[in-house]
């Protein structure tokens, strides 16, 4: 059985779900059920623990692994505070670090993200840092004790796909903790592509939440992630520059003694 062991948990479905942007939180239970998603990230800024009616956590099955995120944090300190609030409120010890100081492109601040990772990993959190794919920073994040590294495929919400493919490929080759592609994945085929490359999982929010049928789209993503994973395990053939004839020209050399 192909299981992703990460952050002290066993994950069977490698599609991770983001929960912002849905037209109604009430859609989330069906999205989770149909797609079989296990890991769900929630922006702590949106959770109102004091108002049970508006508390979006009510829509997330207790069987799911909750990954609170620090959306809205502009510094490591803010991210750390948000993570601590989440844990104190009973959201578990997973945290996705998002530190964004750029409101135009919403690109993460790798330096602040690394600082927050160091602090929170020391406090026993399973830290999932969202970052711009950069090998040096990814190594430092791993050394700081992160549970995984989450490079972006393209800017958040852009649906532009795996534009950072070559950088992500290098991270997959060089970093020996799970690489989870987060942000920018717009189509199931792009999620499959990331998985075929060897990504450990893919996190999708906008492409599912703003689809005409979020439930159908979540299922499509789940299937694509699974297909990509099976393809990776099965070892896809190498890409060749030319067609390879099934009756090779030099085949006769193997037929006899090669003289």
């Amino acid at each position: 059985m192909d299981v992703l062991k990460v952050g002290g948990q066993e994950v069977h479905n490698r599609l991770f779900l983001g929960t912002g942007k849905f037209s109604s939180d009430a859609q989330i239970p069906d999205v989770i059920k149909t797609s079989g998603v296990q890991v769900v990230t929630v922006a702590l800024r949106r959770v109102d623990f004091e108002n049970p009616q508006e508390n979006m956590l009510n829509h997330i099955s207790r069987d799911c692994i909750l990954m609170p995120n620090t959306s809205g944090a502009r510094t490591a300190e803010e991210a750390v505070k948000i993570a601590r609030i989440a844990r104190a409120a009973g959201c578990g010890n997973w945290v996705k670090i998002e530190v964004i100081k750029d409101n135009k492109y919403l690109l993460p601040d790798n330096y602040e993200t690394l600082r927050a990772t160091e602090i929170l990993a020391n406090e026993g959190f399973a830290v999932f840092p969202y970052m711009s794919p950069d090998l040096m920073v990814a190594r430092q994040i791993r050394d700081a004790g992160a549970a995984a590294v989450m490079p972006l495929g393209s800017p958040i919400g852009s649906n532009r796909g795996l534009r950072t493919k070559e950088m992500v490929r290098i991270l997959i080759e060089e970093i020996d903790i799970p690489i989870i592609v987060d942000a920018g994945i717009g189509k199931p085929s792009e999620a499959a592509e990331a998985m075929e490359m060897g990504a450990a999982a893919v996190l999708v929010n906008t492409a599912i939440a703003v689809a005409d049928d979020p439930i159908g789209m979540a299922e499509a993503f789940s299937l694509a992630v699974r297909a990509g994973r099976i393809a990776f395990i099965s070892g896809p053939g190498t890409v060749k520059p030319h067609a390879v004839a099934s009756s090779p020209l030099t085949g006769f050399l193997r037929d006899g003694d090669g003289k």
Binding site: G20, F22, D102, S158, V210
Partner: protein
């Protein structure tokens, strides 16, 4: 470059001449682009673009949903004080107006805050007139400290401050600033602000930038529509938003489109902005600045606001009251402006859901 120099360069352009010469063909080309330049934006404000409103709306809706999701953030205003030294011709708090002047005590503020919090809202906008002797920065800070326990985001809409004063308020728990230039045309600005500290055009114009420098999380700008030619005003407003967004990427920039409606016995707008024109400017702004939030207040009527939910708006007020202490002991027509949409928070919530959007009550964290 400082914003005022940038603005002056543009104010020299003949906007009326430019927009009157734009053709439908130009608009069509602009609507096929992925990024919109400032000249394209101005073209989208032209009379010719009115014919492409539906295409603009579809594109604007798609851009909004992609950037913000199908959500509308909700907040409500809480007026702390209506004492004011300014004589602004369009405002109910004008020093010359005879109305009951009141500044709430910090206890009263807490009481009203508690009533608002019961509606489920976690974002609040606190407002004052401009009378530092009655509602000082320290007083506002004391109110904020008291309200912190009830709200996860507290914004201010008060007189323009110095950078260190903004810092004081941020330290007390403020995370957002709303400040309208009201009118960017300096000649008209001088005319409608007859007396008082607000007469200082430049001090007001640079206030949002001082707040950004002080580390404000969100800054919301606005032009009071009805005081001057709306195309020039909205163009200046958008340039200001873009200037701040580029220079202070850590601050979330938003804009509002407050419109003065003609009403009996009140200040009459010099320029009437139609519903169609208001929609056009929101669409154009959304395409020019996809990440900038757009707020529509209860100045606008309920059915019109409902139609705007799908058209690029990201934030709305609900259950509003523009009178000091209005929630504590009833309203007496002493508000800053008349509310058109009088729906309660619960009614707004249902209206937003009916349009396939999610009302969001909380979107930040109190530390």
């Amino acid at each position: 470059m400082e914003f005022v120099s940038l603005l002056r360069n543009y104010q020299d352009r003949d906007i009326h001449q430019f927009t009157s010469q734009v053709t439908s063909n130009q608009i069509e080309k602009i609507l096929h682009k992925n990024t919109i330049s400032e000249t394209d934006f101005l073209a989208l404000l032209s009379p010719a673009a009115e014919n492409s409103l539906e295409t603009m709306a579809r594109k604007a809706q798609q851009v909004t949903v992609q950037n913000f999701g199908r959500v509308i953030y909700l907040y409500t205003p809480l007026y702390l004080s209506n004492h004011c030294q300014n004589q602004c011709v369009y405002c109910g708090f004008n020093i010359k107006n005879r109305l009951r002047r009141r500044t709430l005590t910090v206890d009263e503020v807490e009481k009203e805050g508690r009533l608002i919090a019961k509606t489920g809202l976690r974002h609040i906008l606190i407002l004052t007139g401009e009378a530092k002797a009655k509602a000082s920065v320290d007083y506002v800070a004391a109110c904020v400290e008291r309200l912190r326990g009830y709200f996860s985001s507290i914004s201010i809409e008060i007189y323009a401050l110095e950078t260190n004063e903004y810092r004081t308020l941020i330290d007390s728990g403020v995370d957002g600033l709303t400040i309208y230039q009201e009118v960017f045309d300096p000649v008209i600005y001088d005319k409608v602000h007859i007396k008082g500290p607000k007469k200082d055009y430049l001090f007001r114009l640079d206030a949002p930038e001082r707040a950004c420098q002080a580390g404000m999380r969100t800054v919301n700008l606005g032009a009071l529509l009805g005081l001057a030619d709306w195309r020039s005003e909205v163009f200046s407003l958008a340039l200001h938003a873009r200037y701040l967004q580029d220079k202070y990427p850590g601050t979330e920039i938003g804009v509002s489109f407050p419109r003065i409606r003609p009403a009996q016995g009140q200040f009459q707008p010099q320029v009437i902005v139609s519903d169609k024109e208001l929609v056009q400017m929101i669409m154009a702004l959304r395409l020019f600045l996809p990440r900038v939030g757009v707020t529509i207040s209860t100045r606008e009527a309920a059915d019109f606001r409902d139609n705007l939910i799908r058209l690029g708006v990201t934030k709305m007020s609900a259950g509003s009251c523009t009178e000091v202490g209005g929630r504590l002991d009833g309203e007496h027509n002493d508000g800053q402006f008349d509310i058109s949409d009088t729906r309660s928070v619960e009614e707004m919530k249902m209206a937003i859901q009916k349009h396939g959007y999610q009302p969001v009550f909380k979107d930040w964290v109190t530390f």
